[in-house]
């Protein structure tokens, strides 16, 4: 029986992948139908490379697939959109085990299935390095786009969950000995549960597609908010919380006053990172939460429905962010 992609051949590889894909596949391009009434199409793309964005030290093939899907769905969530379809291309060294490819597609579709999204196209090619290229497209109601250049002075800044956990999970995967720091502070059982949770936060982040859905429900049910749809700006925090705030401020030509007390530092992160804990929270990245700027009344309504969300500051006219270096962000080419 074939063990590697080389032995399987191109025809066999296509047969292997087909069960994971929509029936739309089969022509030079996939037919997707028309946009929904009153909706617009949005599109986003990401490319992930072995040894740069994932590694078998920290990420199984299933997790690599999951994370590739999550990153792109998170971009759709950040626009206020719902998924329409996803295409995935793989670059594979010929000696790639068949099980690796199956696992990537399994993880990828596991994440898509959470949100009823499906693979509608792709390409598989030979490459010296494992590479995943994903493009996702979604649809958003004309009145409900979320963009990063519409934050207004007086808006509050809201985050949909905790930050730094993905970074903590990654550090624990790279340096398992770090767990001793947790063991000194917590009971062994608690420590094990914490480690497992932090691993999961890194390996299986959940894109916040639930947030726009909830927002639109609030719009529909609450007449005072009915006109607020264009009042939300924001983006996701995939490149870090600080980066998201800085990007929104730059695009909207505003500044931000952060309430540092409101930015939670989970105790596990305090223990692991010591005096770098706030760094992990602000610059860790890959938590895939949303950072939204919106009127206080709307934010309060959302928090009632989604208690994990927190107001962490407000938008101000002066183009600076208290205590934050606006240009310290991920550097991918160093």
């Amino acid at each position: 029986m074939a063990q590697t992609i080389r032995e399987l051949g191109e025809h066999g590889l296509l047969e292997l992948i087909r069960p994971y894909c929509s029936d739309r596949i089969g022509d030079d391009a996939a037919m997707m139908g028309a946009t929904l009434p009153e909706h617009e199409m949005v599109v986003t793309t990401d490319i992930l490379v072995d040894g740069v964005h994932f590694s078998d030290r920290t990420t199984s093939a299933e997790d690599a697939g999951w994370r590739a899907a999550a990153a792109n769905l998170s971009d759709l969530a950040a626009m206020g959109a719902t998924p329409w379809g996803v295409v995935i291309s793989l670059g594979l060294p010929p000696d790639t085990p068949i099980t690796w490819v199956e696992s990537v597609y399994q993880g990828f579709t596991d994440c898509l299935n959470l949100f009823g999204a499906e693979i509608v196209g792709g390409d598989t090619v030979r490459s010296p390095v494992l590479t995943l290229a994903v493009t996702a497209f979604g649809q958003v109601h004309k009145q409900r786009k979320i963009q990063r250049n519409t934050a207004k002075v007086g808006d509050v800044i809201l985050i949909t969950g905790q930050h730094g956990l993905s970074k903590a999970g990654l550090e624990l995967l790279l340096h398992p000995e770090l767990a001793e720091k947790l063991e000194q502070r917590f009971s062994a059982t608690l420590t094990e549960a914490m480690i497992a949770k932090l691993h999961i936060m890194h390996q299986r982040p959940i894109p916040r597609l639930d947030v726009p859905l909830l927002l639109w429900k609030l719009f529909e049910s609450q007449s005072p908010i009915a006109n607020s749809s264009s009042q939300i700006s924001g983006m996701d925090s995939s490149d870090g919380l600080a980066d998201a705030i800085a990007q929104i401020c730059r695009a909207s030509q505003v500044g931000a006053k952060l309430n540092w007390q409101a930015i939670a530092i989970p105790e596990s992160i305090s223990q692991l990172a010591g005096d770098r804990a706030l760094d992990w929270v602000l610059y860790g990245g890959e938590d895939f939460e949303l950072v939204l700027c919106l009127p206080l009344t709307l934010a309060e309504t959302l928090i009632k429905k989604l208690p994990s969300t927190t107001i962490i500051g407000e938008i101000i006219a002066e183009k600076k962010i208290n205590g934050l270096d606006m240009y310290r962000t991920f550097q991918h080419f160093n």
Copy 2:
């Protein structure tokens, strides 16, 4: 001044790329508006890897960019669609010269501009190998989709241009000494012009987006053909002429009777390839022409407007193709 991507940094790289991109870029995803009335969206994707799909021996950075655009636009043409937008992601080793990146985007947009298409998104990441991942989406009128599973017995098989020229160009680029074969047969000037043309056929293939446009014009102007829109099936010949015919036959559950006299073997190919000339024409690939199956009357109308098109056979009920191995196609993983 920065010479490489590492020196330029991520922010500098984004500044470098922005002039080539649509203003739609700037959020987590690009806003594309709604589909045109009566139209549906189609999507296609390709990934190209240095040393596998292009190489500095045969393809400049500009040509690599052009070919990446052409391959995806050709898939749209094969569906009968017009381009709506394109996203391109680059995997770059940190020591990639800045000029290489600029040249890729230049070649890529040169091809897009021919057809009024634009870059609406992308991603740039570090990778040990130069990688281009492209996703293109287009729109096609509901009544004018071209798919490969609707070929009907009695349809004629039509090709929109010559085949084997891209392969001939590639061979000349890899083995310049082959040119001597042409010199023995033709005058020196003629040989030079031939070589230049064959190089171009490999480096700058032109996707046949003109063909569906012309077909739809014919539909609109000629009442007897007005109902023929669902009568065209086909695909592009990017994986070779033989592969395209075989794929259409398999998807449509039919066979084909080819008229071998009608399949032109350009004299330059005869000279270069000797007794393998027909092989180059049938299996060479990457000519990016269209292979269409349609009623004879419609084909004849098209040929009058587009004399480069040729009828090369017809669709038959028996599931075989005379003289062609239906399973001999590109093998990408050997």
